[in-house]
Amino acid sequence: MKILLIAESREGKLLGGSYELVAFAAKMNAESVMFLVGSDSVLPKYDGKVYLADAASAGEYNPDTHKQLILDVVGKENPDMIALCHSSYGWDLAPRIAYALKAAQVSEVVGVVDGVPVVPVCNSKLRRDVKAKTAKTVVTLQAGAFGLSEEPSGTPAVEKVSGAAAGRVQLTGYEQAATGGVDLGKAQVIVSAGRGIGKPENIAMIAGLAKALGGEYGASRPVVDAEWAEHNRQVGTTGQTVAPKLYVACGISGAIQHLAGMKKSEFIVAVNTDRDAPIGDVADVLVVADLKQFVPVLTEKIQAL
């Protein structure tokens, strides 16, 4: 089996997910080649062939152009599978490639059992084994699902590619996350509020527990989207990645995007009414309780210590 790995770079840096593609190819016992839109200065450590398109001309986000460049490489290499990260770059590009190749696309693969990809369903509450019916398949890999067992190493053999026409979507620039205010990265303790807090007034309860523990409060995406908390308090893929000594997740079910932002915390406590919530998979302690009753009692007892 041969897999074409679609690596990623942004603002002149290779993105870490690119190495997860290499780990996936190893797990599949497959031969691999890589495609990257980047430059000579962002080459991955990889013992294989890298087809390199120049980001200066191809653009870092330019789906029509990147698709055409990838199809040219597919023409040369004839891979059985094309693997991308399940990222803002990968999930955008994958359906375009799958459509052009008349291939099935399997999204957000979390594992492979006997050669069959496994994907999450319903906020990771369920799993699905997926069988492709096409000669070629396109897969996107969930971030963190295929970790490297050792430091990446190697020197790629680079072949430059170019020549695709300009695309219809034009990238005009990047907007960086707003900075200032709270720095969750420095907090030793983070108490986070999820949708389970029910109403914005209950943020105060979460902030109170955080204060009693000498830490800061954070929030999951739905709470930030509802404007119950500022974006600089958001923990997860599109917010901050944190690893405090203690993380207390209150009313957070544990969507993969949230878990990715906090699972490296030293000690994790989850407070949730649902004992089957996916947050339970990463928690050292799961308190099955209504946070609106439990958190004030806990806060009071900690203050009395």
Binding site: H86, D129, Q170, G214
Partner: protein, 257 residues
Amino acid sequence: MKIMVCIKQVPDMESKFKIDAGGTWYAKTDLAWRMNEYDEYAVEQAVQLKEQVKDADVTVLCIGPDQVKETMKKALAMGCDRGAHVADDNVEGKEPFQIAGIIAEYAKDKNFDVIFTGMQSQDRGSGQVGILVAEMLGLPSVSTVVHFAYAGGAIEAKRELEGGVKACVKVQAPAVVTCQLGLNTPRYPTLPNIMKAKKKELLSTPVQDLLKVDARQETAKMYFPEKKGGGQILEGDVAELADKLIRILKEKTAVLA
């Protein structure tokens, strides 16, 4: 201006799921159904665009059994003008390529200027349909949008990337836009608008009239993941739970020292 927004009816994700008899999907009984959360943002953006350009017509499309009309009525009450229901009692048996094929077949001769979809569904979560519809119709598409502005046929959007960074992009309509959470603030339908929605056009088309493509993949099996958690589970009276947790925190962490 002609606008289309594609929505899906999904179960509430807090539901207790069971596997159905066939073993390839969740059982559809005893579930509370609602509009896919991402699609609420898509509907809101479609209605905001109509309000901005004034002379516009918004079609809301949904595939599924009769019960999805309830969710379509919410979209109509939010401000969509007409409903295109694709009647299909086995929508969960269609993979994303087929769903996109049905939508593209419906849209191909209707000259929509902008098509909005959610960036993914909460249940299947493939994130493919909107982009596939664009590919099938030969339109450009922008996915994962958290900001949308339209002026004279030009769309300026921001895509959400990882780590809080956004990519600012420009594209010319006609185009497909897939909507990420947080794009806007979806409105609650008002009672007068709910009443008005009851009189809006809601036409059903049998799925076999629009399904012209074959499945490229199938679900072999659906199941619950194995619990990885070696974590301790505490249950009981809240005061006792708090005491227990404090003891554990003193033992295992330094934060209460």
